[in-house]
Amino acid sequence: MPELAFPVILVALAVAAAWPLSWWLERVYAGRTGVLGRVLGPAERGAYRLLRTDPGREHGWAAYARCVLLFSAACFLLLCLLQRLQAHLPLNPDGLGAVSPAPAFNTAASFVTNTNWQGYVPEQTMSQLIQMAGLSVQNFVSAAVGMAVAVALVRGIARSRSGTVGNFWADLVRGTLYVLVPICLAIAVVLVGRGAVMTFGGTETVTTLDGGTQHIARGPFAAQEAVKQLGTNGGGTFNANSAHPLSNPTALTNLLANWALLVVPFAFAFTYGRMVGRRREGVAILAAMLILLGAGLTTALVAEHHATPALAAAGYDGAPNMEGKEQRFTVDEAVTWSVTTTGTSTGAVNSMHDSYTATAGGVQMAMMLLGEVAPGGVGAGLYGMLLFVLVAVFVGGLMIGRTPELLGKRIGSREVRLALLGVLVMPVGFLLCVAVAAATGAGTAGPLNAGPHGFSEILYAFASAWNNNGSAFAGLSANTDFYDLMLGVAMLIGRFGVIVPVLALAGALAGQQRRPQGPGTMPSSSPVFVALLVGTVLLVGALSFFPALALGPFAEALTGRLY
């Protein structure tokens, strides 16, 4: 299948880079920062002085969780304040006014949770100050929070009889300073070099060839582009996101940006294997992620390359489906981006997801609804997948006749309870939100389209919010008080409702003695286990969402017309 060439190359490049990066990640979170540590050491130590923390003093899981919540709450308040006081703050060349309360709440929740759902038109709503000091900073630190939580969980698995899971502030600072900042810098330089916009100048007004007037938004955006991708954030500086020529100018920047959103989540799978001292474990996790991602990519590519009755009925007989896609990119580049951006909880787009065929649109939703584990967000993908690993280990462990163990750690009542909480908070919350939206006038007023496609627009929005993805089926008018509030709450619970059980789990596992492994213990890196893991992820997803998806993408695909 020739259409798989681009995604295969992309994924191969990302996996190839993830391996050395995983080595670096392991060292960074162990505090062994080498040469880079000598250069950036003063900044790191300055941050610790500012935070009044001793990086060598570790936290128990509860203290770690308190720090995560405290830090995120502070960031949330800061973002709210910046938006409400925008008119009085500097670096506002276009003189934008205060952001109204509901969107301000929604945006603060969105960027603190690494979702980067944007209910607003960025270049017409946010000043350069907010873009840089508010949203860009969150792009770094909210990503670093997810990475820190993942590292804490892996420490819990790797350690034996330990009361602590790490120092949150140290993990936060190190992840930002030694991982995100250097790579983003490199990416941003390439982006600027290929023509992405990076200026403190404001909107430029030009006269077009046919004499019309065009306002071209500008700003120091290339730097934000880099972290938007690398930190699986997705919140763009342009409404058109990465379909905008000043954001994503060439095929090379497209490849780089797409690569950037995969590399850290992939690396975390390998890092897991390194940290627990068994690289095969990391490979198994990555294999499960790649199987799910590969299935999504294949399905979506096939769907977009083939003519559908729906498109034919609308008068478009050809294939591939180019509706809603940026003409500068190939259909393969657009589809690959759309599946990887939904699979990584990034949410940046270089094409309009609303215009995909029902099948490919369903794939995008599925990539999110599986819990953002294929491969998921930075850090978040790993800890999400590890929750599924625990569930799979529990069921599989019973089937080999032993008290289930993951790498020598027992999965008892407490661990099962916490893992289930982490896995199930999203499906339950998502379904409740969709039901409320479907039952209320404010909810049903949102979709622009009728029938199953309109319902898909609601499904997509809540799938995106609950899984901290941030991409949108643009057809939904989401900037209403109803959606701002519902989606904002969804993002917060979807993020911290998982993080807290994950950290509790880290604490429960860290306290246990690591038991020796042998031929009688369940292999958690064999192909059979990978199959069991993939099956668990798919089954939990299918069981939770089959009826809802039947009324959305399934119905749309089968009825064979446009809505």
Binding site: G396, R402, V416, P452, L558
Partner: protein, 677 residues
């Protein structure tokens, strides 16, 4: 207990049907929340049916059938549990029949005796039993030695010897003294005897849920909660799509999705597992101990009785230089003639077989038998002026040197060779002259090597415990295929070994019988005490083997594993079944809104209503179909974890996805044959 006891008699089945009805009481169903959910839903739909029937709305024919099958689902689940309990009760009845109501002869502290009914005996009472008496309660032999018929408890008809002071001092109430007279100190109050505990266990009265069972219940509760959300949020979504769903349809989807199969069979699996254990004459203090047995990673096994047959056998005569083998054999045979131990007999037999030396009578008045003592460490015979001795090498050496003789130079080499070979060297001397060595060899139990290989494949390490010297122990260990051994084992060394293994995170199981085993039994994660052993040992362990067969430990491990595997397999099967049920029910639910959704009905079921009904009927019937599996347990072969996982994922995971497609289609075909569409 009789192994021939029928497991499924008509009476048990009839009793279970009644039990299933009794268990409809929600207060009882609280213990199985998944089934309680089904009952609540069934009650709601029944209410709806009544309202519809009264007002003439809805589709009472359809709703009525759903009502029937929802209630049947609850009843089938109750029936499974009642059946498991019923079998336990039948076992308990058989046990009760052996409970003694005899009169005991209680000794007064000051002398003399009272006749008291056995149930009135208290711990600390001292009773006397003579040949023909039933032992009135559990206790320990304080005085005397007797042969006892324990067949009432163990089913083993050969009498056993019980004696004061040693490691064979434990006696059980209900067994019969066959010979001699013993004084027994009662150690259990009425209601707390082994028999009582066994009855309680098999009846399920004292069944506590095991840690894994609790964790599994949490998983099932979590799944149920998700399906509450899935089904509960459907009406507004359906409304938006322009269709409405009846309560009966929603209830059908809910009941089909929640893990009713494993929810219904969960406690039956636990009860049946306990019963399997009791049927093998092992008494566990808790289900937790049985589950722990499945997790064991190190087995400490006594050499004697577990790895080797109880007694060593003479295997070879090794004469020193200048002595004929025949001469050695003859002297050894003579020295052993009066030795009635199995080892002594085996020397006599070997001499006869190897050299045709006839067994001679010691009718001679001149023959004087010299018995073995711990001090001399030798035995023999003085006859017709000849002095024949056999014994431990250094004991005979001393004897010869003291008598002014010399020790042949090649003796040390021969002794060491025999020892290194895993055998025990016995040196024979005649009239102050050393003739050579008799090799006494441990006879390995048949198939024990394969058994250990299986255990190793299953990740269980075996450690042989023996009093032998390290040289001999190493040789036997190699021959038997154990992974490690502890030679010259003392109680302290055993305890230290267990602690060291536990420190490394291993779970250790061991068997023991003597009082000096008690600390190690208590320290081990799974301690199986021999019923014949001392009370101290029995109280320290968490299981008692009524047959006093040390090999039983291996079976206990398998039963522990089987319980978990059955639970895991049926959970996987139950959840995997949901895929097919979705494909049957969901298209039927929404076909009114989007007729094209019937493309999702891959089974091409008769009609939307029969599709829903088929899924609900299949869901109920599969409980009944799986009852035998739950009671019998999934077949377990000790093999590697990876192999077990592969097989069970394939059979119960993949099979669980595929089987219901066929099952639902079959039910649908039957329904359409019956004219339902």
């Amino acid at each position: 207990m009789s192994a021939s006891m029928s497991l499924l008699t008509g009476a048990i089945v009839r009793g279970s049907v009644l039990g299933a009805l009794r268990k409809l009481d929600p207060r009882q169903l609280v213990r199985t929340p998944v089934i309680l959910c089904v009952e609540v839903v069934a009650a709601l739909v029944t209410g709806q049916f009544a309202v519809d029937a009264a007002r003439g709305g809805g589709d009472p024919a359809f709703t009525g059938q759903i009502v029937i099958w929802l209630w049947l689902t609850v009843l089938f689940a109750n029936f499974a549990e009642a059946l498991a309990e019923g079998r336990g009760k039948a076992q308990a009845e058989a046990l009760r029949a052996t409970r003694t109501t005899t009169m005991a002869r209680r000794l007064r502290p000051g002398g003399g005796e009272d006749a008291v009914p056995a149930p009135d005996l208290r711990a600390g009472d001292v009773v006397v039993c003579e040949a023909g008496d039933l032992i009135p309660g559990d206790g320990e032999v304080a005085e005397g030695i007797a042969s006892v018929d324990e067949s009432a408890i163990t089913g083993e008809s050969a009498p056993v010897i019980r004696a004061a002071g040693g490691d064979r001092s434990g006696v059980t109430g209900g067994t019969r003294v066959l010979s001699d007279r013993i004084v027994v100190r009662i150690t259990a109050d009425p209601g707390h005897t082994f028999l009582d505990r066994m009855i309680g266990l098999v009846e399920g009265a004292v069944r506590q849920r095991t840690p894994n069972e609790i964790a599994l219940s949490i998983l099932l509760a979590g799944l149920t909660l998700v399906f509450v959300a899935v089904v509960g949020t459907l009406p507004p979504m359906a409304d938006l799509a322009g269709t409405s769903l009846t309560l009966a349809v929603l209830a059908s989807l809910f009941v089909a999705l929640i893990p009713t199969t494993i929810g219904a069979l969960l406690s039956a699996i636990g009860i049946a597992g306990m019963n399997r254990l009791v049927r093998r004459n092992v008494l566990a203090t808790s289900g937790r101990a049985v589950e722990a047995a499945g997790d064991v990673s190190v087995l400490l096994l006594d050499k004697t009785g577990t790895i080797t047959l109880g007694n060593r056998q003479a295997a070879r005569f090794v004469p020193v230089a200048g002595v004929e083998a025949r001469e050695l054999a003859e002297a050894a045979q003579l020295a052993s003639l009066a030795d009635e131990t199995p080892e002594g007999r085996s020397i006599v037999v070997l001499a006869k077989e190897a050299f045709g030396i006839r067994e001679r009578e010691l009718g001679d008045a001149n023959a004087r038998f010299v018995p073995f003592t711990a001090q001399t460490r030798m035995s023999g015979v003085d006859m017709n002026g000849r002095v024949l001795r056999k014994g431990a090498p250094d004991a005979i050496r001393h004897l010869v040197r003291d008598a002014g003789g010399t020790v042949p130079p090649d003796l040390d080499r021969q002794v060491e060779e025999v020892a290194r070979d895993g055998a025990t060297p016995i040196v024979v001397a005649a009239d102050g002259r050393i003739l050579g060595v008799v090799e006494l060899r441990d006879i390995l139990k048949e198939g024990i090597r394969e058994r250990f290989a299986q255990l190793r494949a299953g990740g269980i390490r075996t450690v042989m415990i023996t009093g032998d010297n390290p040289l001999t122990a190493a040789a036997i260990a190699a021959e038997a295929g154990v992974d490690d051994f502890l030679a010259e084992a003392t109680p302290e060394a055993k305890l230290a070994l267990i602690r060291a293994e536990q420190e490394k995170g291993q779970l250790v199981a061991m068997t023991g019988d003597g009082t000096n085993d008690a600390p190690a039994l208590a320290q081990a994660d799974v301690g199986v005490a021999m019923n014949a052993g001392t009370t101290a040992a029995k109280e320290a362990g968490n299981m008692v083997d009524l047959d006093s067969n040390p090999t039983k430990l291996i079976e206990v491990v398998e039963i522990g594993k089987q319980m978990l595997i059955t639970r895991g397999a049926l959970t996987t099967f139950s959840v995997a079944n949901d895929v097919a049920k979705f494909f049957a029910i969901v298209p039927a639910m929404f076909v009114a809104a989007y007729p094209q959704l019937s493309d999702l009905d891959v089974l091409r079921l008769g009609s939307p209503q029969s599709a829903i009904l088929s899924a609900v009927i299949f869901n109920a019937l599969v409980i009944v179909l799986l009852v035998p599996l739950a009671l019998r347990g999934v077949r377990v072969r000790t093999r590697s974890a990876a192999g077990l996982l592969r097989r069970n994922v394939l059979v119960y995971g993949l099979g669980g996805i595929i089987a219901p497609f066929a099952g639902i289609k079959l039910v649908d075909l039957v329904l359409s044959l019956l004219g339902y569409s």
